[in-house]
C-alpha cells in the first residue's frame, strides 16, 4: 500500500482554515528547512486511512485470545460517554467549580477500584500499566525513604514475571533479584525465603501468575515479605480472573496497578492510550501522586497528598479512558463484576478442556482466566513451532495467543479467551486449533509457509533491525 506521502500532488490541499482577520504577525527567526507533509485532498485522505484501518484486526473483528492482554469486548456505550462534549471540551486548568463532573467521574472510578482491589487509595494518573508499576515502586521507595530505611534497595521478581516488572524496578532505582519458579509455576517459597532480607524493598507478583495459576500460598508469600520488612506489589495484569471474587488487598498486597484497558474493558487503540491506575493501602496513601481528588459534602476538589512522590505526568491521567472504565463498572455493578471474572475463568477452563487431549498443557489442574500450552513436543516431532501455529491461526481469522511467554515455558502459547466470548466462538477456535495440530503432523510445510491470506506474509524482522528504515525518504 502506498504511503500517504506518495499520494496527491504538490498543490493539493484541504480548505480548513479561514483568512486571517487580524494583522499578520511573523516570527523573527523561521525554519529554513521545508516541512514536507502530505498534500492530499479529503477524498484521498479518508480512503488512505480507511484502507489502513482495514489492514488491522481488532477485537471487534473476531476472537482475540491474547494471553495476559485481556482482549475483552469494548462496549459502545463507553465510547459514547467518553465522547460527551462535557468531557471532551473541558480544559484541564479550568477552575474546580466548572469541572465538578470530571472530578466526580474520577472520584467515582477511584471508589469502585478501591473496593474491587481492597485498597484504601487510588491514583488515576499513570497513563499505562508500565507507568503504574513505576508509580507503585516509587511509592515503595518513598515509604522506605521516609522511614529512613535506606538499605532497602532490592526488588524480588519471579522469573515468570512480565518483562515490565524488572524494567520498572530499575527505573525506580532498585536492583532486581530474580527468583526461580517452582515446578508448578508458582512461587518457590524456599527461594523466596532465601531472597528476602534487610535489603528487601519489596516483591512484585502477579496472582494468578503468568502461567494462569492462582498461587495457593499467597498469604504465606506476602507474610514472608512483610516479615522481612518489605512491601508487596501486585501486578494487576491478571486481575480479570479474580475481580470481585478475591481482592489483592486481602491477599496481603500493599500496592497494585490496574490496566483499565484490560480488566475494565477500555479499548487498546493499537497500543494505547491505556490507563494504569494504582491502588495502595493506607500506609502508602500519603505518598500518592498529586493532584488527587477529595470529596466533601458533595463538592469535589483537588489536593496533594502530604508526602507525595510528585506528578507522574501532565494533568490527571488519561481521563477519557477513565470515563470508559467508570461507565463499565457502573454498568456491571456489584453483581456482574464478579460474574465477569467467573466467566473469564470458566471460558479458559472450557477451552483448556477441549484442547488438553491434543495439546500439551504446561501445567496441570484448573487454570484461572488463561492457560499456557507448550508445543515443545510438537516442535520436536514435526518441526512446527508455536510461531507456525500462530501464523496458521491468522489464516483462519483468529488472532493468535501470546507466543513465547512466559519465558519459563518452551514453545509457549498463552490462551486467554475472556468472559465476553461465546461458547460458539470458542468452539470454532478450538476446532481450528485441532485442525492445525493435524496439519502440523500431515503437512508441516504448510504451517511454515503460513500466513498466506493476510495483507502481507511473514516479514523480515532481522533485516528491519539490522538496517533500520524508520521514516520515509522524500
Amino acid at each position: 500500500m502506498k504511503l500517504i506521502f506518495e499520494q496527491g500532488s504538490p498543490e493539493q490541499h484541504m480548505t480548513l482554515l479561514p483568512e486571517c482577520d487580524v494583522p499578520v504577525v511573523k516570527l523573527k527567526e523561521t525554519r529554513q528547512v521545508p516541512l514536507r507533509l502530505p498534500h492530499v485532498c479529503e477524498n484521498e485522505l479518508t480512503r488512505h486511512y480507511t484502507a489502513l484501518a482495514k489492514r488491522v484486526h481488532g477485537v471487534n473483528d473476531g476472537f482475540y485470545p491474547l494471553g495476559s492482554c485481556t482482549m475483552k469486548y469494548n462496549p459502545k456505550i463507553n465510547e459514547d460517554m467518553a465522547a460527551l462534549p462535557g468531557f471532551t471540551q473541558v480544559h484541564p486548568t479550568q477552575g474546580e467549580g466548572t469541572v465538578q463532573g470530571c472530578l466526580e467521574a474520577m472520584y467515582t472510578a477511584e471508589k469502585y477500584l478501591c473496593e474491587i482491589t481492597g485498597m484504601d487509595g487510588v491514583t488515576l494518573q499513570p497513563a499505562a500499566g508500565a507507568q503504574g508499576e513505576f508509580t507503585g515502586l516509587l511509592l515503595i521507595k518513598a515509604y522506605h525513604t521516609h522511614r529512613k530505611d535506606l538499605a532497602r534497595k532490592k526488588i524480588i521478581v519471579p522469573d515468570s514475571a512480565h518483562g515490565t516488572n524488572p524494567a520498572s524496578a530499575v527505573m525506580a532505582g532498585f536492583t532486581v533479584i530474580n527468583i526461580p519458579s517452582a515446578s508448578d509455576g508458582c512461587v518457590d517459597l524456599d527461594a523466596l525465603r532465601a531472597a528476602v532480607g534487610p535489603d528487601t524493598a519489596g516483591l512484585m507478583l502477579t496472582n494468578p501468575n503468568t502461567v494462569g495459576i492462582f498461587d495457593k500460598n499467597i498469604l504465606e508469600i506476602t507474610q514472608i515479605v512483610h516479615d522481612a520488612g518489605g512491601l508487596c506489589y501486585y501486578d494487576g495484569a491478571n486481575l480479570n480472573a479474580v475481580m470481585g471474587v478475591v481482592r489483592p488487598g486481602d491477599m496481603g498486597f500493599d500496592v497494585i496497578h490496574l490496566n483499565l484497558h484490560k480488566t475494565f474493558s477500555t479499548p487498546h487503540g493499537g497500543g494505547g492510550p491505556g490507563s494504569g491506575a494504582v491502588g495502595c493501602k493506607a500506609l502508602l496513601k500519603e505518598f500518592l501522586p498529586g493532584p488527587a481528588v477529595a470529596e466533601k459534602n458533595g463538592r469535589y476538589a483537588f489536593y496533594t497528598p502530604k508526602h507525595s512522590i510528585g506528578r507522574m505526568k501532565n494533568f490527571y491521567g488519561n481521563f477519557s479512558v477513565v470515563v470508559r472504565a467508570m461507565t463499565y463498572m457502573m454498568t456491571l455493578g456489584k453483581e456482574n463484576i464478579p460474574e465477569a471474572a467467573r466467566n473469564a475463568v470458566l471460558n479458559a477452563n472450557y477451552m483448556m478442556a477441549r484442547l488438553t487431549d491434543t495439546y500439551d498443557m504446561a501445567y496441570g489442574g484448573y487454570c484461572m482466566h488463561e492457560f499456557v500450552m507448550t508445543l515443545a513436543r510438537l516442535h520436536d516431532e514435526t518441526g512446527v513451532s508455536a510461531m507456525d501455529i500462530a501464523k496458521g491461526l491468522l489464516d483462519n481469522g483468529i488472532h493468535p495467543p501470546t507466543m513465547y511467554f512466559p519465558l519459563i515455558v518452551h514453545e509457549a502459547l498463552m490462551v486467554e479467551p475472556t468472559e465476553t466470548e461465546s461458547k460458539e466462538t470458542m468452539d470454532h477456535a478450538c476446532d481450528v486449533f485441532l485442525k492445525l495440530y493435524e496439519e502440523a503432523k500431515s503437512n508441516p510445510q504448510a504451517l511454515h509457509d503460513a500466513p498466506v491470506c493476510t495483507p502481507v506474509r511473514r516479514l523480515d524482522e532481522v533485516g528491519a533491525a539490522r538496517n533500520p528504515v524508520l521514516r520515509y525518504s522524500f
Partner: protein, 437 residues
C-alpha cells in the same frame, strides 16, 4: 444489571460438564476460602439507559466554554472532521499492540508515517512511536542522556511547571539530581546556565516557546550545553514548529513535546501524546516502540516493530525504559491531522494563532492598560501584568460570558489565542473586561 457475558447459565452448565467441574466455584479451588469476597460494597449494576443518564448528568455538570483564551500546555485548536471520522474505525480502536505484524499493517504503517512527520516537524533523524505525553517525554529524555559520567540533569525554570514536576519524579526514581536553571525576564538565564553546568551535566531541558509564550534563545543555549559536554533536549510546541527554527536547527540532540495540539481534544488533560525524536547517534537510546520498514517473504513492502532489543519485554531489567503501551491511537490521530493540514495548513494555524494572540495583547494594552509582563518575542501565549484582585474579577466576568480567560500565574495572567477564536470574540472579551476592570 448490565453484562457482556454471552453464555447463559444453561450454556455455562454445558461448559462445566465438558470441564468436568460441578461449579465455577470449584475452579477457584486454589483460593483460600476465607479470602473470597462475601459482599462487594458497590452499587447495583445498571441498564444502558440508566448508565447513559447517570454519566451524561456528570458530564453536564462541567462548563464547556464557548471561547477559550487559555493554553498553558493544553490547546484548543481546530480539529478537522476527518480526524475523528477515520480514527474511530473499530478495527483500529480495538486492536492490541501490533505484535502480529501480518494483521497489523494498518497500525504499523500509520506509525511509520507518523514517525516521518515528527521527523519533518522537528528536523530530527528518528522518532519513536509516541510516549504518554509531553511531560513524560521530557522525563524519558533525561534517561536517554544520562550515563555513568553524566548524572546531573538541568531544566529551565521557564519550562511548563508540571513538566518540571514530572521530570523531578522520574529523577527521584533514577536517583538523578535535577537542577532548575533560573529565569530572567521570563526567559532562561543563559549566563547562569553557563556557570552552573559542570562536567557531570547530562542534559538541559529547554522549552520553545517557553511556558510564558516567549521565544528562547535556544540556539545559544544549545551551544552552551554542548560546550559543557552535555546533551540538549528541546521541548517544542508542534504547531509553532511549522514556523520557527526546528529543534535540529537549534542543535537539539533530543526533541520532545506534547502532541495534543495536533488534532486531540482538550479532554480534561488526556489522553494526549508525547513525541520524541533524536539524532541518529541517539537512536538506540530512544525509549518505547519504533516501527521500521522491511519486506515479507514474497518481497512485498511491510512494516514491523523494530529495534526491540531496547525494550522491556526482551531486555527486562536492562531495557531503555519500561514503556510498552504508548498513545498509538493518539499518534494515529496526529498523523491524520498533519496529513489534513499539510505544510500550508500547519503554517496557517500557527500564523493565525500568533497573529491573534498579538492582536489580543495589543488590545489589552490599549483598551485596558494591561502591560505585557515580559518584553521578549512571543508566539501565541503571553503574560499580562495584573494584580490578583483584578485577575479574579476579570476571570469571573469572562466566565459569566462563556469565555475561559487566562491562567493565573505569578504576577499576572497567562493568555493564549488560537486560530479558532475570531477577531469578534477577542473584541468581545476585551469589551467585557473593560466594563469590569
Amino acid at each position: 444489571m448490565g453484562t457482556y457475558v454471552p453464555n447463559s447459565p444453561a450454556v455455562q452448565k454445558e461448559m462445566l460438564d465438558v470441564i468436568g467441574a460441578k461449579s465455577i466455584d470449584e475452579l477457584y479451588g486454589n483460593v483460600p476460602k476465607k479470602m473470597l469476597v462475601k459482599n462487594l460494597d458497590l452499587p447495583a449494576g445498571m441498564s444502558e439507559l440508566e448508565v447513559r443518564g447517570a454519566v451524561t448528568a456528570m458530564a453536564e455538570k462541567n462548563t464547556v466554554f464557548k471561547t477559550c483564551l487559555r493554553g498553558a500546555g493544553a490547546y484548543r485548536h481546530f480539529i478537522p472532521s476527518v480526524v475523528k471520522s477515520v480514527s474511530s474505525r473499530e478495527e483500529l480502536v480495538t486492536a492490541y499492540t501490533p505484535y502480529q505484524a501480518e494483521i497489523s499493517q494498518g497500525i504499523l504503517q500509520s506509525i511509520f508515517e507518523y514517525q516521518t512527520m515528527i521527523c519533518e516537524l522537528t528536523g530530527m533523524a528518528v522518532s519513536n512511536a509516541s510516549v504518554y505525553d509531553g511531560a513524560t517525554a521530557a522525563a524519558e529524555a533525561v534517561t536517554m542522556c544520562r550515563d555513568r559520567r553524566h548524572t546531573k540533569a538541568y531544566i529551565s525554570a521557564t519550562v511548563q511547571p508540571s513538566v518540571i514536576e514530572t521530570v523531578k519524579t522520574y529523577c527521584f526514581g533514577s536517583d538523578t539530581e535535577l537542577v532548575v536553571v533560573p529565569a530572567k525576564d521570563g526567559r532562561t538565564d543563559l549566563k547562569a546556565l553557563k556557570e552552573m553546568l559542570g562536567a557531570d551535566a547530562a542534559c538541559l531541558i529547554l522549552q520553545q516557546p517557553n511556558y510564558y509564550g516567549l521565544m528562547e534563545d535556544a540556539g545559544q543555549a544549545g551551544e552552551i550545553v554542548h560546550a559543557a559536554g552535555a546533551k540538549f533536549v528541546l521541548s517544542v510546541n508542534p504547531i509553532a514548529c511549522a514556523l520557527m527554527k526546528t529543534p535540529a536547527e537549534y542543535g537539539a540532540d533530543v526533541a520532545v513535546g506534547d502532541g495534543q495540539p495536533l488534532g486531540l481534544d482538550l479532554a480534561f488533560g488526556g489522553p494526549y501524546l508525547g513525541f520524541m525524536a533524536a539524532t541518529k547517534e541517539m537512536m538506540r537510546h530512544l525509549p518505547g516502540r519504533i516501527v521500521g520498514q522491511t519486506h515479507d517473504v514474497d518481497g512485498n513492502v511491510g512494516y514491523v516493530l523494530t529495534l526491540t532489543a531496547r525494550e522491556q519485554h526482551i531486555r527486562r531489567e536492562k531495557a531503555s525504559s519500561n514503556i510498552c503501551s504508548n498513545q498509538a491511537l493518539c499518534a494515529f490521530m496526529a498523523g491524520v491531522y498533519m496529513s489534513a493540514m499539510g505544510e500550508e495548513g500547519m503554517r496557517q494555524a500557527a500564523t493565525l494563532s500568533m497573529s491573534k494572540a498579538h492582536y489580543l495583547a495589543k488590545a489589552m494594552e490599549k483598551e485596558l492598560g494591561w502591560k505585557l509582563k515580559y518584553k521578549g518575542e512571543f508566539f501565541h501565549e503571553f503574560v499580562t501584568e495584573v494584580d490578583d484582585k483584578t485577575a479574579k474579577k476579570a476571570l469571573k466576568a469572562l466566565e459569566k460570558n462563556g469565555i475561559l480567560g487566562g491562567l493565573s500565574v505569578e504576577g499576572g495572567l497567562l493568555w493564549c489565542v488560537t486560530e479558532v477564536v475570531s477577531r469578534a470574540e477577542l473584541d468581545r472579551a476585551v469589551a467585557i473586561l473593560k466594563e469590569v476592570c
